[in-house]
Every structure is written in structure tokens, then in C-alpha cells.
């Protein structure tokens, strides 16, 4: 009891000071609970009125008295009826009774609040129990207490030491109505939730005990005071609500019992309206919330069956009406109720939703790829290392450090999940609720619009109310939502960047540790050069194994090159020696050039003379003959030989060259070019040396056979027509089938390889390449 009195006294003594200094705290408390913006002007305004009322009180009272006394005097002089007098007096007594009741109940109420704060709220707060959220139970009960204390002090001020006729109660309520509304709004708004929270707490034994303990101590105090009317926690919590609902009743009664001539009458009327308004507003707020909850719940946990069952005629007609109405608005551009704040917030909301969605998607994709890339990079580094270094000479540092690197990457992934992806995903999951409500708001807006046009009284009102409730709630909360969502997004992006930075650092360290040599020692280009050098160094391997064909060629090269010293070419001396030693039947001539393929074989040039000594080889094969060239003896395949006919040989030979054998000759050159090259150390000399007929051939062909190179070139350029070709213009050349042509260029002027510039019978022109065939050994 003692402390209570002390606080009471203190309250009274320093109430003004107390109030002004409490004010900012009061608003802070409020703001902590919700973010409703409270106009600061209210407080300024209020303190102004407070001051005025204080300083002007005496003056004011005098004025009032003057006002009243003439009236009283007047009434006395004019001798009003006894009834009026009596009624007036009755009203005044009733009025003072009501004022007293108002004061008393306010005092009791304040007392209750104080006790509640001291015995329940504070102890619970001090206990700091994890699962017990005192704020959600009592929300801003401290503010409620303060406003009540202030109201009481104002009422005291207005009634104490003031004659009943001068007491102006309405003014007090008008002064305080702003803060009163704000504070009670918050309390009432949260009461429903608080109630459900309380129920959940009471289910838990431990929490229930804490609560009961507080209640018991409170009950004890009440018992001592002789007011055993406290029942439980719920009744404690509902007290402010009951109180705020009581104000209009009290004020109404007060007004009714105030004579219209009383200075308080007007003020009371206003105060009554104001307080009633407060109650309506609070109700509206609660309704709004209920509405939001209703629509929010609407589509949740709804099976198809539920939906079908809901599909009543009423809902269908409602929906179709909305659609037509929407079309009407779209097409005719009919006037529509608009809310710019809402539109702005909605746009922001949608942008945020899109951003967050994209972020979640992209960042998780990016994370996936970072992980992949890091692992793969590491794997390839290790593989390369495995190749680059011998296992036995591996140093400890080499193999260990890169192995550690995957961990930071996993670490990064975990952090990214925790700091970026999870919050963003959680945020993303919060968007659908408001989206649904926004949709509902548009529906309601359409309803409202359609009713507005048909101006149906009752329904229009209902639609309007629903729309406005939804809209107000959305506007208010979307702002909060958007701000918080934006903040989270910012945070996450910052975290993302920070995490990337850290990851890069870790990766850098991991790789730096893996490198033994100082980084700047060898430049990239140097390394490139070294690598190239290595490649060149490798060439011996490459040459040996890679160029298979070349080696094969070189193989062939070697042997003939070795043979010539052993087997000099046949000269006229040898020939005459053969002619003299062997009979004509035994003499044969090489039809074609033949190369030795086995040991003891001999090579022959075309036209060389041999004497056959035996028409078989040691194995008994008759296709290989032992022959004598005059220099050596060896084996030759008989198919290369033809009987020697000394009379004919020159003539036939010559003729052959002139006509049909041309073809054969040329192809022979083509096929045997490498061989003849290799066979003859000095090509020109040996050829002219060995067979004079050869040079004759050369003379016959288009190219003058002086130079062997141009000769070869010429025969490379000789083709024959596989198909006949009819020239289509001057630039082209007609060809007969099998006609020989000399190709001057293997492409046309524009470099097209399909058309070749050919010459035949003194004419030049282009022919299609695919009509031509190479003269080959056919």
C-alpha cells in the first residue's frame, strides 16, 4: 500500500512535469510495438493547451462566473418557475454524481493498471522467460497506464477547487482524444492475438505457473483491499478495452444531465462525439483486420471439393458481374475510385516480388555453378599436377594444399544459404498473402464501383466499407512490408558481395599456397616459349612415330640408293658384250622399268638388254628368271621382259612413242617419278645415258623435254576428258570424250577450284574439273 500511495502523491505533485517528460517515452513505446506514425503535432498542440489552461484558469473561471451570475440573477429577477429551478438543481446533482463516478472509476482503473504493471507485467518481464512474450500479452499497457494517469490528473484539475457550475469535463476529453485513440487502438488491435497467445501459454504447465504466481500475488492485494473481483489473467487483460468502451456511455450520461446553459454542454457534446468516434475507429480497425484474416484464410487449405461446394450461384453471379464490370471500366474508361498511395505501394510491392524471385533463382543457380566450377577447376589442377610431376619427387606442400580448397567452397555455400538464400526464400514465401489480398481488394473495388453506378443504398455501403477497410489495411501494411522487404533484399545483396569477396580470398590463398615458385619469376610468354621448345624437343619422338608414310618412303629410298654403286647402268659396251656372248634367243629386253624387290634381284631400266641364263629361280618358280646384264647376274620377273629383236627394236620403239604408247609412257612417268628420282643421282644424265628413246619421247610432247622438272610438271598438268563437254560460252572449251587436255591453271580467275583453265588443240578455255580425269597407270 505504501508504495502505491507514494506514487500517487508523486503523481499529483509533479504531474505536469511528469507528463511532459513521459511523453516522448510514451510515443517510443508505442512505436516499438507498431510503426504507426503518430503526428508529433498532437503533442505540441496538447502541451500548448495544457499550458494555457493552467495560466488562464483563474481568468477563465472569472469569465465563466460572470457568465453564470447574470443568468442566475436574471432568473431570480424574472422569477422563473419552480420546476425549472428544481430540474436544474436535480440535473446538477446528478451531474456531480456522474462526475464523481467518472473520477472514481478512473481512479480505480488506474489503480488496477498500476497493480497489474507492478505485480504482473514487471515481474514477468524481469523473469525473461524465453517462450513467454510479455509484449504480445500486454502490448502497450504501459502507455495505457500513462494516458489513464494523465486523464485522471486532468480531470482532477478540472474538478478540484472548481465550483460545480464551472466544471468543464468535455474539454478534458477533447484535449486528450488524439493520444487516447492511438493508444487504445494499439491495445485493442492486439488484444485478440493476446488472448489466443494467453490460451496457448496456459496449456504449458511451466508458463502457466508463472502466470498463476503473479495472479496470486495480485489477488492477495485485492483481498486486502476488500475487492475480491479479480478472476484471472483474461479479465486483467480486457480491462482497458472495457474502460474505453465505458467513456462514451459516461459522457453521454453526463451530457444528458448537463443543462444546455452550462458551459460544459457544448464541450461535452463534442467530447461525446469524439470518444464515440474513437470507439468506432477502434471497431473499424478490428473489423479490417478480421476481414483481412477472412480473405487471407479463404483460399488456404482448400481442397477441390471445398471449392466446388463453394461454387454456388451467388458466387458465380458475383464473379461474372465483376468481369463485366471490369470490361466496362476498361472499355469505357468510367470513373473509378482511385488511391494513389495504394497504387504506388502496390507497384513497389510487385517490383520487390519480382526482384526477390529473380534473385533467389539466379543466385542459387550461380551458387550451383560456382560450386561446379570450383570443383572442376581443382580437379583439373590436380590431374595436371599428377601429369606434371613424378609421384616420387612430389613435395608435401604440393599435394596437400589444393585438397583443402573444397572446404572453403562448401563453407561458402553454407554461408550463402544461411545469409542470402534462406532469408530471400523466406521473404519470397511471404509475398503470396498480400498478393491475394490485393486481388481481393480489386474485386471489392469493382463491386463498389458497380454499386456506385446503380447507387444501391445498402449494398453500396457495405461494398464501400469492405473496400475501404481492405484498402486502408493494405496501404498501411504494404508500406511496412515494402520497407522491410527492401531492407532484407539490401542486406542479402550486401552479404552476397561480402561472401563472394571472402570466397575469392580463400580461393586465392589456396592456389597461392599450391604454387612453389614465386609468381613473377617466369612470364607467361616465356612459359609459352618453353612449352613450344618442349614440343620441338619432342619432335624426335614425333618424327619417328608420327610420319609413318615418310618413313616408309625413306625406307624405300635407302635401298636403291645403296644399290647403284653395286649395279652401274648398262652401257653400250655391256650390250655388245651380251650380244656377243649369248645367242639371240637368250636375249631379252626390259619392257618396263623394274625395281629389285628381293635380295639377288636386279633393277632394270626400260630397254635394257639382258641375257636369260635360267628360266626359273632356286625355289623353282618360273616367273623369276636368272639373267645377266653384262655387269651382274640376278633375278628378274619374267613379265618385265620381252624377247630382243635387234632389227625391229629401234623402229617399233620410235613408233610406239609417236602414237598409241603416249598414254602409257606418261602414266609411267607419273607413277615412277619418285623412284626414278631416287634411282638416278643426276637424273638428266642417267636418263639420257640409259635410253636415248626417252629423250625422243620428251621431244614429242608439248613440253620440250630439256628440263626434267618442267617435264614432270607438264605431265602433271595433262588430263583427259572423262565426259564430253559442250562449251556454253567463249570462255569455255568444248571437249570430246577421252580428249587430252593440258591444264594451265587449276582454278578460275576468282579462285574457284571447280573450273580449270585448259588448253587443247591450240584453244584455251575453262572446263569443269569434275569432267577431267588424271592420266594414271591404267
Amino acid at each position: 500500500m505504501e508504495p502505491k500511495e507514494a506514487t500517487g502523491k508523486e503523481n499529483r505533485g509533479s504531474k505536469r512535469k511528469n507528463l511532459t517528460f513521459l511523453r516522448p517515452r510514451l510515443y517510443m513505446l508505442e512505436r516499438r510495438k507498431t510503426d504507426t506514425v503518430v503526428e508529433n503535432s498532437v503533442s505540441g498542440d496538447h502541451s500548448g493547451t495544457l499550458r494555457r489552461s493552467q495560466s488562464d484558469r483563474t481568468e477563465y473561471n472569472q469569465k465563466l462566473q460572470e457568465k453564470m451570475t447574470p443568468q442566475a440573477g436574471c432568473s431570480a429577477a424574472e422569477a422563473p418557475t419552480q420546476d425549472e429551478e428544481q430540474q436544474m438543481r436535480r440535473m446538477m446533482t446528478k451531474r456531480s454524481k456522474i462526475i464523481k463516478e467518472l473520477l472514481q472509476t478512473e481512479k480505480d482503473y488506474l489503480n488496477d493498471l498500476e497493480l497489474c504493471l507492478r505485480e504482473v507485467v514487471q515481474p514477468l518481464r524481469n523473469k525473461q522467460i524465453d517462450r513467454l512474450d510479455v509484449d504480445s500479452l500486454f502490448s502497450n499497457i504501459e502507455s495505457v497506464h500513462q494516458i489513464s494517469a494523465k486523464l485522471l490528473s486532468l480531470l482532477d484539475e478540472a474538478t478540484a477547487d472548481v465550483e460545480p457550475a464551472m466544471q468543464v469535463i468535455g474539454e478534458v476529453f477533447l484535449q486528450i482524444k488524439g493520444p487516447l485513440e492511438d493508444i487504445y487502438k494499439i491495445y485493442c488491435y492486439h488484444h485478440d492475438e493476446a488472448h489466443s497467445v494467453l490460451e496457448s501459454y496456459e496449456k504449458e504447465e511451466e508458463l502457466k505457473q508463472h502466470l498463476n504466481h503473479c495472479i496470486q500475488s495480485l489477488k492477495k492485494i485485492y483481498m486486502e483491499e476488500g475487492k475480491p473481483n479479480l478472476l484471472d489473467m483474461g479479465s486483467l487483460m480486457i480491462k482497458p478495452i472495457q474502460r474505453v468502451m465505458k467513456y462514451p456511455l459516461l459522457l453521454c450520461e453526463l451530457r444528458n444531465s448537463t443543462p444546455p446553459s452550462h458551459p460544459d454542454y457544448r464541450a461535452l457534446e463534442d467530447a461525446f462525439a469524439a470518444v464515440r468516434n474513437i470507439n468506432v475507429n477502434i471497431n473499424e480497425l478490428k473489423r479490417r483486420k478480421d476481414l483481412v484474416l477472412k480473405y487471407k484464410k479463404n483460399d488456404e487449405d482448400e481442397s477441390l471439393k471445398d471449392k466446388l461446394s463453394k461454387l454456388s450461384i451467388h458466387s458465380i453471379s458475383k464473379k461474372s458481374k465483376r468481369v463485366t464490370n471490369h470490361l466496362k471500366i476498361l472499355t469505357r474508361g468510367e470513373s473509378q475510385v482511385k488511391d494513389n498511395t495504394f497504387n504506388r505501394e502496390e507497384k513497389l510491392f510487385r517490383c520487390l516480388e519480382k526482384t526477390v524471385r529473380h534473385c533467389v533463382k539466379n543466385i542459387s543457380l550461380c551458387l550451383q555453378q560456382i560450386q561446379d566450377a570450383m570443383v572442376l577447376a581443382l580437379q583439373s589442377v590436380m590431374e595436371l599436377q599428377e601429369i606434371s610431376y613424378n609421384k616420387d619427387e612430389e613435395e608435401g606442400g604440393y599435394s596437400e594444399t589444393p585438397n583443402k580448397a573444397p572446404n572453403p567452397c562448401n563453407d561458402f555455400a553454407a554461408h550463402l544459404q544461411r545469409l542470402v538464400l534462406i532469408p530471400l526464400s523466406a521473404l519470397l514465401s511471404l509475398f503470396p498473402g498480400p498478393q491475394k489480398l490485393i486481388q481481393k481488394r480489386y474485386d471489392k473495388l469493382l463491386d463498389y464501383n458497380s454499386y456506385l453506378q446503380r447507387s444501391a443504398g445498402d449494398e453500396s455501403d457495405l461494398a464501400k466499407k469492405e473496400y475501404e477497410a481492405l484498402n486502408a489495411q493494405l496501404v498501411e501494411e504494404l508500406q511496412v512490408f515494402n520497407q522491410a522487404a527492401r531492407k532484407i533484399l539490401f542486406n542479402c545483396l550486401c552479404s552476397f558481395s561480402t561472401l563472394l569477396r571472402d570466397l575469392m580470398l580463400v580461393a586465392q590463398r589456396a592456389y597461392s599456397a599450391a604454387v612453389p615458385v614465386p609468381l613473377l619469376a617466369s612470364r607467361i610468354s616465356e612459359i609459352q616459349n618453353r612449352v613450344l621448345e618442349e614440343v620441338h624437343n619432342l619432335n624426335f619422338v614425333k618424327d619417328n612415330s608420327a610420319t609413318f608414310i615418310e618413313r616408309k618412303l625413306s625406307f624405300e629410298k635407302k635401298k636403291p640408293v645403296q644399290i647403284p654403286p653395286e649395279m652401274p647402268r648398262q652401257t653400250d659396251i655391256h650390250r655388245s658384250k651380251l650380244l656377243s656372248t649369248y645367242s639371240a634367243e637368250e636375249l631379252y629386253q626390259a619392257k618396263r622399268k623394274c625395281n629389285a624387290t628381293q635380295e639377288y634381284d636386279i633393277s632394270l631400266l626400260e630397254g635394257e638388254l639382258v641375257a636369260v641364263m635360267e628360266q626359273k629361280d632356286p625355289l623353282g618358280s618360273t616367273s623369276r628368271w636368272l639373267v645377266d646384264t653384262g655387269i651382274v647376274k640376278g633375278y628378274v620377273y619374267s613379265s618385265f621382259l620381252k624377247p630382243y629383236n635387234p632389227a625391229k627394236v629401234q623402229k617399233v620403239d620410235a613408233e610406239n612413242r609417236f602414237c598409241d604408247d603416249d598414254f602409257d609412257n606418261i602414266s609411267l612417268f607419273v607413277s615412277s617419278r619418285p623412284a626414278s628420282d631416287s634411282v638416278t643421282g643426276t637424273p638428266e644424265g642417267s636418263i639420257s645415258d640409259s635410253s636415248s628413246s626417252l629423250s625422243g619421247t620428251c621431244g614429242k610432247s608439248e613440253v620440250n623435254g630439256t628440263d626434267i622438272d618442267s617435264f614432270q610438271e607438264a605431265d602433271e598438268q595433262i588430263f583427259y576428258a572423262v565426259h564430253a563437254f559442250q562449251a556454253r560460252s567463249d570462255h569455255e572449251l568444248s571437249l570430246q570424250e577421252y580428249q587430252r587436255v593440258h591444264i594451265l591453271r587449276f582454278c578460275d580467275l576468282s579462285g574457284n577450284k571447280e573450273w580449270w583453265l585448259a588448253e587443247a588443240q591450240g584453244q584455251k578455255g575453262y572446263v569443269p574439273a569434275n569432267y577431267l580425269g588424271k592420266m594414271t597407270y591404267a
Binding site: 577447376a377 590431374e383 522491410a484
Partner: protein, 253 residues
């Protein structure tokens, strides 16, 4: 004429010493393993660079999507942040590209060049095998004639078979010697060949990551007004989220 169809207990004469064959197998085995390794590495490098590129592309996509969002038009601060992020991402992409090019030049291409040696090696080995078979065949022929009675034709045939055998044997021995000599050299050349590539790869990574660290360090400074710790950040996010959940318009479940 002996009538023993199978020469039991008389092992077939080994024409090449076992140690030679073993050496050859070992060297060739090592090279085959190396070939597999380079092939796999080539594939993995390719995969790795592709993944790198995909990674930076996806990172750029994050910022591009953010930039294209209409939110930027309304919110200057957001625009500033996103622009900074975008710049960082684009630079990362550029550096990444550079790194990949570097790797391509100093690792993948040399790998390819090195890898192109193997087919010829395999070819050479195949030819050696071919020569060995020829050698064996002819050797068997010679042995067959050697076992026969030494009559005139047989001797001639033996002589001829020997004559045939000689170049083949020489050919095989040349090939064998060459390969035995060169395979270890080829195998060892990889060390000098790949070490620079390895170093270059590591350096490319280090350069890239240190650049990235700088870029994102700058970005972080630019974005993060006070240097929040992770826990603070987390708590802040949690607080905001619960604030959001407390809203009546948000479904709270």
C-alpha cells in the same frame, strides 16, 4: 622323321628375351596411362573452363535482372547498389574470360599438341607388333626347315627362309630398339612440358582470384555502410522477417 606330334616339355623358343618384352610392356603401359590421363585432363579442362564461363554468365545475369527491374527507377539507392554490383559482375566476367583464354593458350592447347603424339606412338607400336609377328612366322619357318632332313630342296628352302628372315628380324630389332630407347624419353619429356602449364594454370587462378578479391572487396565497401558481421546480418534479417510475419496481411502459418 619323328612321329611326336607335340613337343611336350620343350618350351617354345623365346625369340625375344623376356626382360626386353617386360621393359617394353612397362614403358608402353606407362605411356598408355599417360595418354589416358592427358585425354581425361583435356576433357576436364574443357569442362572446367565451360563451367567457369557459365558461372560468370550466371553471375552477370543476377545483376542484369536486377538492373532491368523497374524498382531501379523508383529507388535511387537501390539503383546505385545494383549498378555497382553489375559493374563488379561484368568485370568478373571479363577477368574470367581472360583467365579462360589464358588457360586455353597455356594448358589446353599444349595438351592437345602433346596428345597428338600418341597416335603415332600407337602406330609405331603396332608396326613393331606387326614386325614381331612376321619375325615369329619366319622364325618358325626356319625352324621347321631346320628340323627336316637336310635334302637339297630343303636346304635351298632353308637358305631362302633364312634370307627372308634376316631383313625382317633386323627390321623388328631396329624398331624395338628405337621404341625402347625413345619411349622413356617421351615419357620423361612430359615433366618439362607440363610443368610450365601447371604453373601457368595456377598463376592464372591466383591472378584471377586476387583480382576478384579486390573487385568484391571494393564492392563490399561500397555497399556495406557499417561492416556488419554475419551474425548481425542474420539477426537483422530474422528481425525483419518476423516483423513481416507479424503483419496481418501476411499469411502467418
Amino acid at each position: 622323321m619323328s612321329w611326336i606330334p607335340f613337343k611336350i616339355g620343350q618350351p617354345k623358343k623365346q625369340i625375344i628375351p623376356k626382360t626386353v618384352e617386360r621393359d617394353f610392356e612397362r614403358e608402353y603401359g606407362r605411356l598408355q596411362q599417360l595418354e589416358d590421363q592427358t585425354k581425361r585432363l583435356q576433357k576436364d579442362m574443357k569442362k572446367s573452363t565451360d563451367a567457369d564461363l557459365a558461372m560468370s554468365k550466371s553471375a552477370v545475369k543476377i545483376s542484369l535482372d536486377l538492373l532491368s527491374n523497374p524498382l531501379c527507377e523508383q529507388d535511387q539507392e537501390f539503383l546505385k547498389m545494383v549498378t555497382a554490383l553489375d559493374t563488379a559482375m561484368k568485370r568478373m566476367d571479363a577477368f574470367n574470360q581472360e583467365k579462360v583464354n589464358q588457360i586455353q593458350k597455356t594448358v589446353i592447347e599444349p595438351l592437345k599438341k602433346f596428345g597428338s603424339v600418341f597416335p603415332s606412338l600407337n602406330m609405331a607400336v603396332k608396326r613393331r607388333e606387326q614386325a614381331l609377328q612376321d619375325y615369329r612366322r619366319l622364325q618358325a619357318k626356319v625352324e621347321k626347315y631346320e628340323e627336316k632332313e637336310k635334302t637339297g630342296p630343303v636346304l635351298a628352302k632353308l637358305h631362302q627362309a633364312r634370307e627372308e628372315l634376316r631383313p625382317v628380324r633386323d627390321d623388328f630389332e631396329a624398331k624395338n630398339k628405337q621404341l625402347l630407347d625413345e619411349m622413356p624419353r617421351f615419357y620423361n619429356s612430359r615433366l618439362n612440358y607440363f610443368q610450365p602449364s601447371f604453373e601457368s594454370l595456377i598463376r592464372a587462378q591466383v591472378v584471377y582470384y586476387s583480382e576478384m578479391h579486390k573487385i568484391f572487396g571494393d564492392l563490399t565497401q561500397q555497399l556495406d555502410q557499417p561492416g556488419h558481421s554475419d551474425e548481425q546480418q542474420e539477426r537483422e534479417n530474422e528481425a525483419r522477417l518476423s516483423e513481416l510475419r507479424a503483419l496481418s496481411i501476411v499469411a502467418d502459418d
